[in-house]
Symmetry: C2
């Protein structure tokens, strides 16, 4: 499809771009007053995720409000565990909570997987279709899924955690059971992404948000084989792989050859470029707290980041934008990137 603003797709097709394309993780969210207004009219976050009309509405808001180069469908990584049979609640200011968690093989066997699970997510596909229509080819739409390990974290731990020690212990105690769960998750993620793509996504991002609690050895055993399968299965559109905190496995992540490798702020763009070459496209990696700084510091950090990547960069933060970030600073940030010329 043709887009008014196609800078992201041009970069992904290996064409010349005049500046880095930019989008922001959590751009459709609490930083925007128009989002908070929609959200306030509903009983909770899940009511928004499961309402295709409103989900598509908030997905489009940052295109107007911020001028980013892509939309990312408003949703939640935990729709997959739910579609597999594990309901969750989102408790205000506390995060996700699962009443039932995965404890044994019976629990794993009871989970739906693949197509069968993905069929339960028609509200997401509908939201994608509605967003594509409402976008009127202004910018491309990105979709996403949580990585198998990150989804497993919530399904075993039952909630967010600083350490995910229960899930990590689970890997040590029950490696076979862990692989059985990760296998089912992988099949479901692939079916879900393929189905979503068919409704009009141009790019997908796989988030391994809790990669950083593991180490190189554990990441190799419990994460990389599944990420490899997902990356190889998704041939329809480019894949962005973002394993937050997995600095210790960067060689292997780059080795999977996703179309784009996401970097958090602890990784030095210059070193990454020197190590992995000029052809790889990186996404990232500004620390989101820089957006709380005075504007002239945001400007100089933007320029420094772009120079350090030296091209082949999708500009983004190294983590989702914090809801408390001054909106004016976020706008300034996007403008600075858009003004830049290589």
């Amino acid at each position: 499809m043709q887009y008014e603003n196609d800078i992201l797709l041009r970069l992904l097709q290996g064409k010349q771009v005049e500046r880095p394309p930019i989008w922001i993780m959590r751009q459709a969210g609490r930083i925007l007053p128009e989002y908070r207004e929609v959200r306030a009219s509903l009983s909770g976050f899940k009511a928004l995720v499961s309402n295709p009309d409103l989900a598509s509405k908030v997905t489009i808001q940052p295109i107007d409000a911020l001028g980013v180069d892509a939309a990312i469908i408003f949703s939640d990584i935990l729709v997959i565990p739910e579609a597999m049979g594990l309901d969750y609640e989102l408790i205000e200011k506390k995060g996700p909570f699962f009443h039932k968690t995965i404890e044994n093989m019976e629990d794993v066997l009871a989970l739906k997987e693949g197509q069968e699970a993905a069929e339960h997510l028609s509200y997401v596909y509908e939201a994608v279709a509605m967003t594509v229509e409402k976008l009127e080819q202004r910018v491309p739409l990105i979709g996403f899924a949580g990585a198998p390990w990150t989804l497993m974290c919530y399904m075993v731990e039952g909630s967010g955690s600083k350490t995910f020690y229960k899930t990590k212990s689970f890997l040590h105690k029950y490696p076979e059971l862990s692989h059985a769960l990760l296998e089912k998750l992988t099949k479901t993620i692939i079916a879900y992404l393929k189905k979503k793509i068919s409704y009009g996504l141009e790019v997908v991002q796989v988030f391994d948000s809790w990669a950083g609690v593991l180490d190189k050895e554990m990441y190799k055993e419990f994460c990389l084989p599944y990420l490899k399968r997902i990356n190889e299965a998704i041939t329809e559109v480019p894949v962005i792989l973002f394993s937050k905190g997995a600095w210790f496995s960067m060689d292997e992540i780059v080795g999977l050859k996703p179309n784009v490798v996401g970097l958090d702020w602890t990784l030095d763009p210059k070193e990454m470029r020197a190590k992995y070459g000029k052809d790889i496209i990186f996404q990232g990696n500004m620390d989101p707290t820089v957006l709380f700084a005075p504007k002239h510091l945001i400007s100089s950090k933007v320029e420094k980041t772009i120079q350090s990547f030296g091209g082949n960069q999708i500009f983004n933060l190294g983590h989702g934008v914090y809801p408390q970030t001054p909106l004016d600073n976020v706008k300034h940030f996007v403008n600075e990137v858009r003004k830049f010329r290589y």
Copy 2:
């Protein structure tokens, strides 16, 4: 002083040791039933920290229960902010909470510092003195302090956090104010450690628990200069510096030349040894969730870790032991290390 078990001190003096000495972060704590019994008799964690008789009692428990090679005084890193004038509560299952946080220069100026602040911690010095007496020269006693940055995190954020985004934003917004606070913290930490050492500590550890939320550049500006001063000021006993998550600043941390560099589990002992040479003493670095695995896996991980360090290692975990760890596994772990011979 002479100790029945002096293996830790022999290693620190550069003498031959037959195996790695071992102690465990949070060894005096909820993994031990005798600790939970003491704790249950009190109104809260702070009641235990501020009671020298009971604090010394629980400090000694793991020497008998686990057979570790050193005691570490039972206390809390947040006694320093409190001594400087910022009270806190410890809320059950939630963690520390400060009613007043640092917001501006007036707040920083109002804080006590150095000797004057350290004088408020007589209950800690008394606990050290009582522990030394009760230990009867069986093993040496370790003391600790939080690093300036980690203490600042709580003083600005007001509580624990996954991201400490408020404190990180504070660094960007108010760099001078941040340095003023870090300066006062540094002076207090030095005065506190020196005073504590005079009561009979043989080793001190400085914990930079939240190093990992920063990056190389921020760590260089806001952490390393203060760690350098603390490390240089403490000449009485060896210093262990443990900056958790600061893989990006290892060159600089090693460059400070503390007597021991603590490593978390994301760092590969073999790589660290190859990079920094055979003379540096490392402490670490087993992932604490390995202790939830079957015993034969704990044994093989212990052996692999010791082989990977190739000597000059204080065996420890890469983080505090989780309270839910099976006690029997912890005992097995300590025994396996003690049985090993180089």
